[in-house]
């Protein structure tokens, strides 16, 4: 396994190198550059444009620039943003990333669980009236033109009903006298979410070895209650209490995008789960499980859904890869200032260092997700063992 990961990392480095070279060349193939507008400004001395190009090294031949960029990239130097000069791309990303990560990790987790749950119930209740209707709805939400759907939801919930905010991730007027930056709040929200899920995961792992099913269920239930009580105390004490109104403001703004993207994203998982699980339900070991006298719910979850999980997880991991590029559209519609908007802006403004940095971030993310997918297979399906050779 370790050998496999090392070999894959080596391969990934080569792929990433090629990725960098090609994207750099492609960005430079865009006609003009970020500073072309200086030429149009009559108040500037005529040599200003040329001097700016020299400062950024844009007067050098393309191949030399590419070589320099790649070398500097691996040294950890990503240059400066052309548009927000003293800031480096890393600073810009660090500011935007928590916003996107918070929104889309929640969307993906919610979409995956609802999709998986609905899918397995659909397969289990095959042929019932409810199954037909939910399947039809899922197909609708899977195929609906997403921007239109998002705008319709904004119109209904934001404008007509007025329940939820129209776009943006906070009410600026609330934040005038805020003692800290929105990113601080975002970071602490992410930290909180991660800690909560780790605790729940630990409770799950700890209760796995317990023989009595009812005790196992009780322990998980108690841990859930403990998390609720714990988070109540966390948000009402110390620094978190100060951040609470701001955090809730962000959370309030998150409701609509999370809802809309979930509705669109869950359907793929649900339909895929339904199909694979219907195949699994025909297997002999489901009959064995029934003959053993195991409860229907346990057969569904433990035997059928567990085996059907593999293709679903595969598709889910590939969805994660699209978090950032998928966020372009969503963030544009909901005016959510995250990575997606940064990416779009930097490309439009030909802010090459920033665009390159965001794209390579997406690239690294995709490569790692694929590696994770391969590694998780061997855990999910013991029949797949990663070979050291070949």
């Amino acid at each position: 396994m370790a050998e496999y990961i090392i070999r894959r990392t080596f391969q990934m480095t080569i792929v990433f190198f090629l990725f960098l070279v090609f994207s750099y060349l492609l960005f430079n193939a865009i006609p003009g550059n970020a500073f072309s507008s200086l030429l149009l400004n009559p108040n500037l001395p005529p040599d200003a444009y040329q001097r700016v190009l020299e400062i950024y090294g844009l007067d050098k031949p393309l191949l030399e620039r590419t070589q320099m960029y790649i070398v500097n990239f691996f040294k950890g130097d990503f240059g400066y943003s052309y548009k927000y000069f003293p800031k480096t791309p890393i600073e810009l990303i660090a500011e935007r990333l928590p916003r996107t990560l918070m929104l889309f990790s929640i969307v993906n987790i919610v979409a995956f669980y609802t999709g998986f749950f609905i899918g397995k119930v659909l397969a289990w209740r095959r042929g019932s009236k409810a199954e037909t209707w939910i399947t039809v709805t899922s197909v609708f939400s899977y195929t609906v033109f997403y921007p239109w759907f998002a705008l319709m939801m904004l119109w209904v919930f934001g404008y007509k009903l007025g329940w939820l905010p129209i776009g943006k991730f906070l009410y600026p007027e609330k934040w005038y006298d805020a003692p800290f930056d929105s990113d601080v709040v975002f970071t602490s929200m992410i930290k909180f979410t991660v800690v909560v899920s780790l605790i729940q995961f630990a409770a799950y792992l700890a209760s796995r070895g317990i023989e009595s099913l009812s005790l196992r269920r009780n322990i998980r239930f108690v841990s859930l209650i403990a998390i609720f009580i714990g988070s109540y105390f966390y948000w009402n004490n110390g620094e978190a209490l100060l951040q609470k109104p701001y955090a809730s403001d962000i959370a309030y703004h998150m409701i609509l995008p999370v809802m809309v993207v979930t509705v669109v994203a869950f359907a793929g998982t649900a339909l895929l789960t339904r199909t694979t699980m219907m195949e699994v339900l025909k297997e002999d070991y489901i009959l064995t499980a029934r003959a053993k006298g195991i409860s229907q719910k346990r057969i569904r979850d433990r035997h059928a859904a567990r085996t059907a999980l593999l293709p679903v997880v595969t598709s889910f991991i590939f969805t994660i890869v699209t978090i950032i590029d998928g966020s372009v559209l969503t963030e544009q519609i909901f005016s959510w200032p995250g990575m997606g908007q940064l990416l779009l802006q930097s490309v439009l403004e030909e802010d090459i260092p920033v665009a390159m940095a965001t794209f390579s971030f997406v690239g690294v993310f995709a490569l790692i997700a694929h590696l994770l997918a391969d590694v998780s297979y061997s855990y999910l399906d013991p029949r797949i063992r990663i070979k050291s050779q070949g």
Binding site: G209, R290, A291, G293, R383
Partner: protein, 323 residues
């Protein structure tokens, strides 16, 4: 005199299909005593497995038990609710399925799958108790206890089948159904598995229902047997009696089609024709169209009914009345 463990009386089961009802099990009655092994033999599609599935009521969704009674230890099982049935399954009647290869969930460890069954029926057992139980089961069927932590694909076909037997015994059932447990195995392993089942059955005093199309295996394994044709039992009685003195024409044909290892090579008899479609309502003797022994004293128009021709030896009225 040992008591009757399983009493099946006039069991009827049919599949509802688009082209009409298929009567897979027709008026099947038999009794299995404690510690006795009972064989059910017949060709493919004659309803053997349907009988087994009806006993556990695990039949497909479109299959309905229309009438009859199945009594386990005097308790009626037909018409039980799902949760009552769940208690009886595995604890009262367990089954060794046809394809042991696919009887295991590929992503769960073998030990865990057995543990799951025990946990369901003995919820108060501790982990150590269950582990000991599984170890003793594995020992009984000749498996190493390390197999517990293996995944099914890591076992050979014979090992899987042995583990399936261990699984079937895990809740100390009263009756074990073995539904062609050796179909997918090669002859050497088949023999080992059969010996294993025989040994375990005698050791634990189990009631065994052995289902097979191989009449030789039935001869070796069972005390009593029944021959099925087109959904109904055409002859039943003590195995030795049926082999010595077969009465029904179908039983005779089955016996004549079995090769003998000793002696000269002889051409085996085979039956002409096909078994009847079970969708059509069959009047009278279902075997009459293929019967090689038809003569003028036959009464194929008589409704099928078993009559006693010897001690505990029953045969269909059509064959019984023939001279």
């Amino acid at each position: 005199m040992s008591k009757d463990v399983l009493v099946v009386k006039d069991l009827n089961m049919h599949y509802e299909t688009l082209s009409g009802d298929v009567s897979a099990v027709k008026n099947v009655s038999f009794t299995v005593k404690e510690g006795e092994s009972f064989g059910l033999v017949g060709e493919s599609g004659c309803g053997k497995t349907s009988v087994a599935m009806s006993l556990l009521q695990l039949q497909a969704d479109n299959a309905k038990i229309s009438s009859g009674s199945i009594k386990l230890d005097g308790i009626e099982m037909v018409g039980m609710s799902e949760s009552e049935l769940r208690k009886v399954r595995w604890d009262g009647i367990s089954i060794v399925f046809q394809g042991a290869m696919n009887a295991w969930n590929p992503v769960v460890k073998v030990g865990e799958q057995i543990r799951e069954a025990i946990r369901e029926h003995y919820p108060n057992n501790t982990k150590i108790q269950n582990t000991e139980k599984i170890e003793s089961l594995f020992k009984m069927v000749g498996l190493d206890s390390t197999i517990m932590d293996r995944f099914p694909h890591e076992l050979s076909g014979g090992m899987k089948q042995r583990a399936v037997i261990a699984l079937a015994l895990s809740c100390d059932p009263k009756v074990v159904i073995a539904d062609e447990p050796t179909t997918a195995l090669d002859v050497v392993i088949q023999d080992q598995i059969l010996k294993e089942i025989k040994k375990v059955q005698e050791l634990l005093g189990l009631s065994l229902i052995y289902i097979s199309h191989d009449i030789a295996v039935i001869a070796e394994m069972t005390d009593k047997m029944a021959v099925m044709y087109a959904g109904s039992i055409v002859e039943k009685g003590p195995t030795s009696e049926i082999f010595a003195n077969p009465q029904h024409s179908y039983t005779k044909s089955l016996l004549a089609s079995t090769p003998s290892v000793v002696g000269d090579k002889v051409k085996l008899n085979s039956l002409e024709g096909e078994p009847p479609s079970l969708i059509d309502q069959i009047e009278g003797c279902s075997f009459a169209p293929r019967c090689p022994n038809r003569n003028t004293t036959c009464h194929p128009e008589l409704d099928m009914e078993l009559v006693e021709v010897g001690p505990d030896h029953f045969v269909d009225i059509c064959s019984a009345s023939r001279n």
